[in-house]
Amino acid sequence: MRLTQGTFSFLPDLTDEQILAQIEYCLEQGWAVSIEYTDDPHPRNTYWEMFGNPMFDLKDAAGALREIQECRATYPQHYIKVNAFDATRGVESLRLSFIVGRPSEEPGFGLTREEGPGRVQRYSLRSYATQRPEGWRY
């Protein structure tokens, strides 16, 4: 099952030129670009591992693309996303976030049901990948 999180996630995967253009746009807006990766794709897992520091003083997108390529080489079977952080006072949060790398096989999520008191039914999502320990998934 294809993971759809963040911007552009219903589009086909962006090519490197498209990623470059998006990052270029972010830098034009004055946002700081950072790269994160994870092997736990649960939608509520918002804080992924950082790959290097956020690039606050970056001027050109080529530098960020190079980091992305390095991250892909290091973690070929992880999810990788690019975040653009807007440091403007009063905003101070992510403006844009999109996936730039994903594992070759995505097993998707299973729905687990739990019987509560009375006839209450609780539901939770669990990624099949997370049945194995961290680092062994995918």
């Binding site: 003083d57 970056l58 001027k59 050109d60 997108a61 080529a62 530098g63 190079r66």
Partner: protein, 319 residues
């Protein structure tokens, strides 16, 4: 630039097709930067002509690319050699502007670094540090001041070598992303290039910055004073000329930088002179004028007294 105006074609053109160099020059707005360079920097004639040559080469190579003749971008890495205070950094800034306007770098910013920012403290520290700097400089110009410090032959475990290797790799593979300018003293840079032939062969343009003559230094001083809204009284101008002559012969002379420091000290003295005369109201003229006393109080005159000097230092002979 006497070419006839003709509509230039963007595709593969026949031999008859004409390319309008003048229009390309206008389009790039690079002549503004060149004029600014001429206006801002006194002297440095060989440097200016080299910069012009490089401009012409890049412009022609842009046109050649339009005509489908060239595909490889030319190598743009440079080395600026010369004594301190001869305008290497200023020219590097202008160079970045020129490259930006001609479309050879995408952003045209300059990242100026020295050894400290590139070389790490321990094993495994250097590569990420250098990569970080290169990442920041991408799309612009990486200006490495005193680049010869990167290579320390006396310590074979020095991490500078690692930096050089990473730099070389990126200078070769990421030519369209990064232009590297190395700067430093001429003799030490030559030694650096001799021991790193890979670096030398990847640098296309070696530009040497000559020292300024006394007349040029005086002109620079006048330009600096104009920018700071100061004036020299005629006797003070003579004193400054004399000061420059003497200062040039002394050790640690850093060309324009020494002159700027001297002027800063003269301003200081002028301020305290005005302060001591606070009993009378000051006119605008008082505030902007430097008097000979402000300049002649310098220790440059004290160590080497000249015959027409008006200050009262005893006429002792130098050992």
């Amino acid at each position: 630039m006497q070419e006839t105006v003709a509509p230039h074609t963007d595709q593969q053109a026949g031999d008859e097709a004409q390319f309008d160099l003048a229009a390309a020059l206008r389009e790039s707005r690079v002549s503004e930067v060149l004029e600014e360079l001429d206006r801002e920097l006194v002297g440095l004639a060989p440097v200016k002509s080299r910069v012009r040559d490089i401009c012409a080469l890049l412009l022609v190579s842009t046109l050649r690319r339009r005509a489908g003749l060239d595909t490889e971008p030319p190598s743009l890495h440079m080395s600026f050699t010369g004594n301190p205070g001869t305008g290497k950094t200023t020219v590097a800034l202008r160079m970045a502007q020129i490259l930006h306007r001609l479309g050879y770098v995408r952003k045209g910013h300059v990242v100026a670094v020295t050894r400290d920012e590139l070389v790490g403290q321990y094993i495994g520290h250097t590569a990420p540090k250098t990569r970080e700097v290169i990442k920041r400089a991408m799309g612009g110009v990486l200006f490495i001041d005193e680049a010869y410090y990167l290579y320390r032959p006396e310590n074979e475990r020095d991490y500078g070598q690692e930096t050089i290797e990473i730099l070389l790799q990126d200078m070769e593979n990421r030519r369209e992303d990064l232009v590297v300018i190395l700067a430093g003293y001429k003799d030490r840079m030559e030694r650096f290039f001799r021991s790193n032939p890979g670096m030398s062969s990847r640098i296309a343009h070696h530009i040497d910055f000559p020292d300024y003559s006394a007349a040029e230094l005086f002109e620079i001083a006048c330009a600096m004073l104009r920018r700071m809204h100061y004036e020299l009284s005629p006797p003070a101008a003579d004193a400054l000329r004399e000061y420059i002559e003497l200062r040039r012969l002394q050790p640690n002379f850093a060309n324009a930088r020494s002159i700027r420091n001297a002027l800063d000290r003269a301003r200081l003295r002028q301020a305290s002179r005005l302060f001591s005369q606070s009993d009378r109201p000051l006119s605008r003229k008082d505030l902007v004028t430097l008097e000979p006393a402000d300049i002649r109080a310098s220790r440059v005159f004290a160590t080497q007294p000249s015959s027409d000097s008006i200050d009262s230092t005893p006429q002792e002979s130098e050992p």
